[in-house]
């Protein structure tokens, strides 16, 4: 199966089929399905951003929703003030990136859990700020804009047009991030996450790479904010509430950190799980979500995206070639990590 996927012809064939599906499906599906897929795209990109800083970069960020919120407000402001749509998109991407850069420049210097602490503050400060700055944000009422309605000439319904918009943005973002997290920058981020002493001996500054990953995560968050506004056409202080940030984090972990597929699964989780748990019993929503998170953490520490590899591993270990079980792997890694840090942390007594 995996060998089959490696053949270029098969890959191109799969790509053509996927593109065809992406073009045709929005025309055929009912409105509610299109809307759901569009929301999944929005939150898959938000989780992707979180993955850049946390999954790949190893920095705990609890404020990703703030950047989504900022992106959505910038988009709403631009749309209500009749900015050019391309300009609005660029602003929704650049302003969160600048905010992220400034925050990371300060927080990454403090090291340790500083980034996590600072990022907790973001949505907590952001929400009342969004209420207060009502000149720009419309206060508690929020802002709505129908900038993403389908133009007449397309002959499309709004939901179809919106789905096309977010699909294109999501695919382009995923491809760019995929390229970024492989090769030079992927290797550098991975070693910064694993062992800062080794990273710096390779000429990689842990500080700058933390700042870089946080900035890119903020930018991708801003992009998801633009997408959010395109689909929902309304944003309010509630958009950037802290508990959404935690759900994004859970979505990333359940999907699989440091994987692209995990980000997509995370988007699905974010959209479906609250609805699902609500349907089972509205009083138990939080508890059920917690249970799902724990279950995944115990059974599949690598998230749902690691399921195929896990199955392949199990099959192999039951056959002739022994494969190391993942849990043992993680333990040796932790020991190695601790050991390799020793010479640089401690004096040679």
């Amino acid at each position: 199966m995996s060998n089959l996927l490696k053949k270029p012809a098969v890959r191109w064939g799969a790509l053509v089929v996927l593109v065809a599906l992406a073009v045709v499906l929005p025309l055929m599906l009912p409105e509610v399905a299109n809307d759901t897929i569009a929301r999944i795209c929005v939150f898959a990109v938000a989780v992707l951003g979180l993955n850049v800083v946390m999954g790949y970069g190893g920095q705990v960020s609890l404020g990703q929703i703030f950047f989504l919120g900022l992106g959505s407000y910038v988009t709403a402001y631009g749309a209500t003030n009749d900015w050019n749509i391309v300009l609005t998109f660029l602003a929704a991407l650049v302003l969160p990136a600048i905010a992220g850069l400034v925050i990371a420049l300060a927080a990454a210097r403090l090291g340790g859990l500083a980034i996590a602490m600072v990022t907790i503050a973001l949505p907590i400060v952001g929400l009342p700020l969004a209420r207060r700055l009502d000149h720009w944000t419309g206060g508690s009422q929020g802002l709505s804009s129908r900038f993403s309605d389908a133009p007449e000439w397309t002959g499309l319904y709004h939901d179809q047009w919106q789905l096309y918009i977010v699909l294109v943005i999501a695919v382009v973002t995923f491809v760019l991030v995929r390229n970024f997290v492989r090769g030079k920058f992927g290797r550098a981020l991975a070693i910064v996450k694993e062992n800062e002493a080794v990273a710096s001996s390779m000429g990689i500054s842990p500080y700058w790479y933390k700042v870089l990953s946080f900035t890119i995560a903020s930018m991708v968050g801003g992009i998801s904010g633009f997408m959010y506004m395109s689909v929902v056409q309304y944003t309010s202080p509630e958009t950037l509430a802290f508990h959404h940030s935690i759900t994004l984090l859970a979505a990333m972990v359940v999907g699989g950190s440091a994987t692209l597929a995990g980000s997509v699964i995370g988007g699905v989780y974010f959209v479906f799980v609250p609805v699902l748990t609500n349907a089972i019993n509205p009083n138990l929503t939080a508890m059920l979500q917690g249970a799902i998170l724990l279950l995944v953490l115990f059974l599949l520490p690598g998230g749902l995206a690691s399921l195929p590899r896990r199955i392949a591993g199990l099959r192999r270990s039951s056959g002739s070639r022994p494969g190391a079980p993942p849990r043992e792997e993680a333990a040796t890694r932790a020991v190695q990590k601790a050991a390799s840090k020793q010479p640089t942390r401690k004096a040679d007594q």
Binding site: I191, G203, D348
Partner: protein
């Protein structure tokens, strides 16, 4: 290009603990230099001072005449410095090849935008590097492992991979921190061959911290013996092995007297 390393009066204090006291020596370009001494003598601390991971309290460390004391460790690669660690920290879930390619980080041009867009020059550079890393692994007898995940390899092989990763930096100064620790005899022989070959073929200065006296005697041109953070003596490995002060530092005074 092989680098000259000059240390003058290097002191390192952690609070009240004096880890290094007034250490000075000079390492000739292209030579293999040994740092020996009993456990806790300060050898690795001295290494960490040279590689920028520790900042000496006073003194001067020069590489080819440039003062590097106080430089960030991530800046040291630009002085041509590469190092290994006592415990090789590899990316265990990545392939050996990816691990080795990490060593070429500073040689790869292009910023985040160029890499996200996969511009042609970036793709070409990555491909060339892949070839170079494969050749380096071949030369060190690890070509067969290139596409294995690092955690499938033994500790000894990890050390080999880590050395290749350091060599990908094309260093002028290579610091090896206990390269023979935990290796079986046969692999120590291999390591000696590898370092000899490096010395013959590459233009590099090598400093080795090691307990294994056989390895030190086989490889080094000069050694410095450290004891309690201070330089005890400097000379050839043979001189060090016969120096009564060195014997005393290793096995204690009374026993040394009894032995003589």
């Amino acid at each position: 290009m092989a680098a000259r390393v000059t240390l003058q009066g290097v002191n390192l204090h952690f609070g009240g603990v004096k880890v290094l006291r007034d250490v000075s020596f000079d390492v000739e370009p292209g030579s293999v230099f040994g740092l020996v001494g009993p456990n806790g003598a300060g050898k690795t601390s001295l290494f960490n001072c040279i590689s920028g991971h520790y900042r000496p309290s006073s003194g001067s460390i020069r590489i080819d005449g440039t003062e590097v004391r106080g430089s960030r460790p991530s800046h040291m690669a630009s002085f041509g410095l590469a190092r290994t660690f006592q415990h090789p920290a590899l990316q265990l879930r990545e392939t050996v090849l990816e691990n080795v390619m990490l060593g070429a980080h500073t040689r790869l041009r292009g910023g985040p935008v160029a890499w996200s867009l996969r511009l042609p020059h970036v793709v070409r550079a990555e491909k060339e590097l892949r070839g170079e890393a494969l050749r380096l692994l071949e030369e060190n007898g690890l070509g067969w492992a290139a596409h294995r995940r690092a955690d499938e390899l033994s500790h000894g092989l990890h050390k080999g991979v880590e050395l290749c990763r350091a060599l990908m930096m094309r260093p002028g100064l290579l610091l090896l921190d206990e390269p023979a620790a935990g290796l079986p005899h046969s692999e120590v022989e291999q390591l000696i061959d590898t370092v000899r070959r490096l010395r013959a073929e590459s233009d590099v200065t090598i400093i080795i911290v090691e307990h294994h006296m056989g390895l030190i005697a086989a490889l080094t041109d000069r050694v410095v013996v450290l004891d309690h953070g201070a330089k005890l003596m400097e000379g050839t490995a043979a001189e060090a092995q016969s120096d009564p002060r060195v014997i005393e530092a290793y096995i204690g005074k009374d026993e040394a007297d009894a032995a003589s």
